[in-house]
Amino acid sequence: MSFKVVVDYDLCESNAICMQIAPDVFEVRDDDFLYLLTEAPDEDQRVKVQESVQRCPKQAIAIVDTED
């Protein structure tokens, strides 16, 4: 099973906590917006993304499991 990362940009306040935990997936750039470096990260990123979900103060990140 693989997974997708979904960010609710209306909730995100760009505080970059997720970037600190999973810098290969999340990046807050100079325009102060959050960018996803990949929407479907490798399986080895799952633990880090899960930690980001848990620690995002705005509860703006979700993991969606995909079939393939």
Partner: protein, 395 residues
């Protein structure tokens, strides 16, 4: 370990039960909380709930189904009233005694108050507090007086101004936010409030809150009076440790833990209630920040299950505060800083990042709308980077 009680059903308590389960604990797991609500998030209380931007449904920390999946024995609305660290027995107000082999203390803190309860005078810590203040805002108060320019008071002031209410904020210190940001940066934040129309009075305290059944005015320490029908007291919090009296645990400015979060054999503590020596800063601290409640709860839960091998808890504390359209973030400790430099942006635009150093090492970073820089410099603080290298870094 067959059974564990987590006492305090808020941020730290919830993250502790989640971690215990995800680390494989499948025994009896009790979650005890004196509030009747299932765990909710406090930061929005002074921001989106007061401003009316969010309705209450958005503040739960976990969806009901996910909460149920944790398979907890919940005792909500039933406070722990005593504890015996030798037997690990937790006694609840209802008379129930939980007989367990492990305990996580996560009872947090409550607000300090002034004088006897009086109509129109509030503090802000709980959902019920926030809803009461929101209703008072909507009732159209003549003036909102905020006593204490700490972060919560400042957020209340900002939310009230956002609704067009007249706000007076009084602060005993000459220099607000000095303890956390230093005098110079504290003054920058104070100016932000003045620019948004807050009548900020520094160097004066509240001598008395005057009124029979409802507040009518407050008298300041310089003798002057302010007429008002709504007062929010924001003068800090006290850790909830009274139920631990006579427990055998060491209580000072909170529950005293060792470097690994252990308070006694089989007992750990986390969040606003816990005091521990943070080896990174060589300082004993009790941290009242959201992020710490999570990371310390995770650490404490693992410590309880896996023992000493989990190691010391040595985080770089971090918090944010939203005031008007500014996102203020501070990572690290400014205590006793001897160097300071603006490393990005400028103070005039109030968009900047600044770093603080002590004894040749970077110890803190402050950002006004600079989240990326705060996180980058936070990593340098974590790595105990020298002041010279931190100054040379480019992000």
């Amino acid at each position: 370990m067959k059974s564990i009680a987590v006492v305090g059903a808020s941020l730290a308590g919830l993250r502790a039960v989640e971690t215990l389960r995800s680390e494989g604990f499948d025994g009896d797991l009790h979650l005890v909380g004196d509030e009747v609500h299932r765990p909710y998030d406090r930061p929005p209380l002074s921001k989106q709930i007061l401003s009316g931007d969010w309705d209450v449904e958005r503040i739960w920390l976990t969806a009901e189904e996910k909460f149920d999946e944790l398979d907890l024995k919940t005792n909500l609305g039933d406070a722990a009233v005593s504890f015996d660290a030798a037997t690990l027995a937790v006694t609840l107000a209802s008379g129930l005694v939980l007989d367990v082999d492990g305990v996580v203390i996560a009872t947090g803190a409550r607000t300090r108050t002034i004088g006897e309860p009086l109509g129109g005078v509030y503090t802000l810590r709980t959902l019920d507090d926030a809803q009461a203040i929101r209703a008072a805002f909507q009732a159209g108060p003549s003036r909102v007086v905020v006593i204490g320019a700490g972060f919560i008071g400042a957020e209340v002031a900002a939310s009230a101004r956002g609704l067009g209410l007249d706000v007076t904020m009084i602060e005993m210190a000459e220099s607000p936010f000095e303890r956390s940001l230093g005098a110079e940066m504290g003054a920058v934040l104070a100016e932000v409030h003045r620019d948004h129309g807050v009548d900020l009075r520094l160097g004066v305290g509240c001598a008395a809150i005057v009124g029979e059944e409802h507040v009518e005015s407050i008298r300041l320490t310089d003798g002057s009076m302010i007429e008002t029908d709504l007062v929010i007291v924001g003068i800090g919090v006290i850790p909830n440790v009274e139920w631990l009296e006579g427990s055998g645990l060491n209580i000072e400015n909170g529950v005293v833990c060792d470097a690994t979060s252990l308070a006694a054999p089989g007992v750990v503590a986390a969040g606003d209630v816990a005091e521990w020596p943070n080896g990174h800063f060589g300082e004993t601290m009790r941290v009242e920040h959201w992020d710490n409640a999570i990371t310390q709860a995770v650490h404490a839960a693992k410590r309880l299950l896996h023992g000493e091998s989990v190691g010391p808890y040595e985080p770089v504390p971090w918090f944010w505060s939203d005031q008007y359209d500014r996102k203020i973030q501070l990572a690290g400790r400014t205590t006793g800083f001897d160097s300071f430099e603006i490393v990005n942006g400028d103070i005039e635009s109030r968009k900047f990042a600044a770093i603080y150093g002590r004894n040749g090492t970077i110890v803190a970073v402050l950002g006004f709308n600079r989240p990326r820089h705060v996180m980058r410099y936070r990593q340098l603080i974590d790595a105990k980077t020298s002041w010279a290298d931190a100054l040379a870094a480019e992000f």
